[in-house]
């Protein structure tokens, strides 16, 4: 049994296990913090930074999904700084990828009063062809937010197949197979656990994809 500590979240006194994350402590107190890359069954990569909170006395905002609570911490899950960061990240994301299949993210955009259009039109986007190379799922990396969930699910967090990794780096990063080979020529075993954890419809059961195509046109 770990000990319990007291802290303050959004002005509310909160008790939490000493090894809890801020996200867990907040959730237990009924306070919702938005997340994207975080998935309960996967190692938190803490890359999306949407769950950042303001921790009085700390220089930068803290990612709630991986930051451990501390006694007497005073934490704000909403503040002008937090909202600015979340809004800006969401706006930049929305100007980079296609979020049409990510209703939770679109709801977040509305909640944080995000206006991607203020960034203008002449922006670099990530654009990819839809990859249909097997009978089971399609990969539409226009919709990929690089949350890493699929890579983790394909690796040691779930499947141990190691078929998925990265091409490029920085803004030009994309999820890829070894030398960008078609899936059937990789170590993929088509478990679809990557599809199961994808939050934006970038990975999709081929039947769903085909049905959508049929309805759209």
């Amino acid at each position: 049994m770990t000990s319990t500590i007291s802290l303050t979240i959004d002005g509310q006194p909160v008790e939490a296990p000493a090894d809890a994350t801020v996200l867990q402590a907040a959730e237990a107190a009924g306070i919702t913090i938005p997340t994207l890359c975080h998935h309960p069954n996967l190692t938190p990569p803490a890359v999306c930074r949407l769950c950042v909170v303001e921790w009085e006395g700390r220089r930068t905002l803290q990612p709630a999904c991986v930051t451990q609570v501390a006694a007497d911490a005073v934490i704000h899950t909403r503040s002008p700084r937090v909202d600015l960061a979340r809004r800006t990240i969401l706006e930049m994301l929305a100007t980079t990828v296609d979020l049409s299949d990510a209703p939770e993210l679109r709801a977040m955009l509305a909640e944080y009063d995000a206006h991607p259009e203020r960034f203008g039109e002449d922006l670099t986007r990530r654009e990819h062809e839809v990859i249909i190379d097997n009978s089971f799922f399609v990969r539409d990396y226009d919709k990929c937010v690089l949350c890493w969930r699929c890579v983790e699910a394909c690796g040691t967090d779930m499947e141990h197949a190691f078929a998925l990794g990265f091409s490029g780096r920085g803004f030009e990063t994309s999820i890829a197979t070894f030398f960008e080979n078609p899936m059937p020529e990789t170590t993929c075993v088509f478990c679809g656990n990557c599809v199961g954890v994808c939050p934006t419809g970038a990975l999709k059961d081929r039947r769903v994809f085909e049905l959508e195509m049929a309805t759209d046109y």
Partner: protein, 406 residues
């Protein structure tokens, strides 16, 4: 000009390939002294000297040495020689001109912290430094400075020389660990810190090359000597890589806290080009522009922090009044967009958006809210990026707008 260089004293005077030459010029005296003192005393000396890390983050070196000294083995010492900050070439000059000094410093750090192995991670583009270090390490093994029972102390230590492969981010200490481990250079989440769980998950002392070389002189000359140089809050000798529009670009060793004016006038021979100073970029692309108002500001950690700038690596690039600053800003923005590793969203997206917006401004197609966008992006990157790359990627550009350089 009463200051006598110590860090660069041997450079140009000795044959960098020759171990005997190195030994003849005071080489390995610090290590011999350290062995006499014993690890605990060496660490104490490092604590007594107020040596702030010279890689840019200015973290007190003594605290790191103490933490790793106390940690349970196996543990490692890593020399961060992945010098990639634009305008910075100090570690290269040290490694090319005096390679044995770095090796001696790593052995000394290994001895003080009872580490099992040392790594020197040299920037991939620094082929000459890499070759000279490789040669020097082989000589040190032959001479018994590396291997078993070094200097009869019973201490066994090995150094593995590693090469980067073209990634600015690997200068970030945890990204550097990932790179040694054979992975993409993605910075790790902190905590845990390197002294707790660093390379291969073990306690690791990681210092910049210049920091490590300072340790040699602290052991030889004592903390009092060290602390007497420059300002009390951040003392010691400092290397200032000086470039751009100055008459004599080059590496300057001076007491910490020299002013920009002294650096340019006394060491650089004055501004070139139009001859009229406009601005200097201090600390490289991750640093900030300083205008004429700051010519007398001491170039030390605290003084620069107090005006919202940072000393960083100490690099100073000088711009005269004839320089069109727009392409300069575009280059800085391009640099970060190219070098962002892409791990966390604020930096992955922010560096590209910053680049896009600067591009349209440079092209005369800026939009009304563009400066606000740059500020929002900058604050978001500073507040939420995983590592220093993203946290500093907007500094120079925003400071340029502050100074109305465009």
């Amino acid at each position: 000009m009463s200051y006598e260089p110590v860090l660069t004293a041997r450079i140009g005077k000795i044959d960098p390939a020759s171990l005997t030459d190195y030994e003849a010029h005071g080489g390995f005296q610090a290590l011999i002294r350290a062995v006499e003192l014993g690890p605990g005393r060496v660490v104490a000396l490092m604590e007594e000297a107020t040596l702030l890390g010279r890689g840019g983050a200015a973290f007190p070196a003594g605290i790191k040495w103490r933490a790793v000294h106390q940690a349970e083995g196996p543990k490692f010492v890593v020399a961060n020689a992945d010098e990639s900050e634009p305008g910075t070439f100090k570690d290269r000059v040290l490694m090319e001109g005096d390679p044995y000094a770095l090796i001696e410093a790593v052995i000394l750090a290994g001895f003080a912290t009872a580490a099992d192995k040392g790594f020197i991670y040299v920037r991939g583009e620094y082929a000459r430094a890499y070759q000279r270090l490789r040669h020097a390490i082989a000589r040190c093994y032959e001479a018994g400075y590396l291997g078993r029972d070094i200097l009869g102390s019973g201490f066994e230590f090995h150094i593995e020389l590693r090469r980067g492969a073209g990634a600015y981010i690997c200068g970030e200490e945890t990204a550097l660990f990932e790179s040694i481990e054979g992975k993409r250079g993605y910075p790790r989440l902190k905590p845990p810190f390197p002294t707790q769980a660093g390379l291969f998950g073990r306690p690791t002392l990681i210092n910049n090359v210049e920091t490590l070389i300072n340790a040699l002189h602290i052991v030889l000359r004592g903390p009092a000597w060290f602390n007497s140089i420059g300002p009390a809050h951040s003392p010691g000798p400092k290397l200032y890589p000086l470039s751009g529009r100055v008459q004599r670009p080059g590496l300057v060793e001076a007491p910490m806290g020299i002013t920009l004016r002294e650096l340019i006038e006394e060491h650089g021979g004055g501004v070139s080009g139009s001859g009229e100073f406009r601005v200097a970029l201090v600390g490289g692309a991750a640093g900030a522009f300083l205008g004429p108002d700051h010519l007398n500001t001491p170039l030390d950690f605290r003084s620069l922090a107090s005006i919202g700038a940072a000393l960083g690596s100490g690099a100073v690039i000088v711009f005269d009044t004839s320089v069109d600053m727009k392409p300069i800003l575009q280059r800085i923005a391009d640099f970060f967009a190219h070098e962002s590793c892409g791990k966390c969203y604020p930096c992955q997206l922010g560096t590209m958006r910053q680049r896009d917006i600067i591009a349209r401004m440079v092209a005369g197609q800026g939009r009304p809210g563009d400066l606000q966008l740059l500020r929002d992006i900058g604050q978001t990157m500073r507040d939420t990026s995983i590592c220093g790359l993203g946290q500093t990627a907007s500094n120079a550009i925003l400071s340029a707008f502050e100074l109305k350089l465009t």
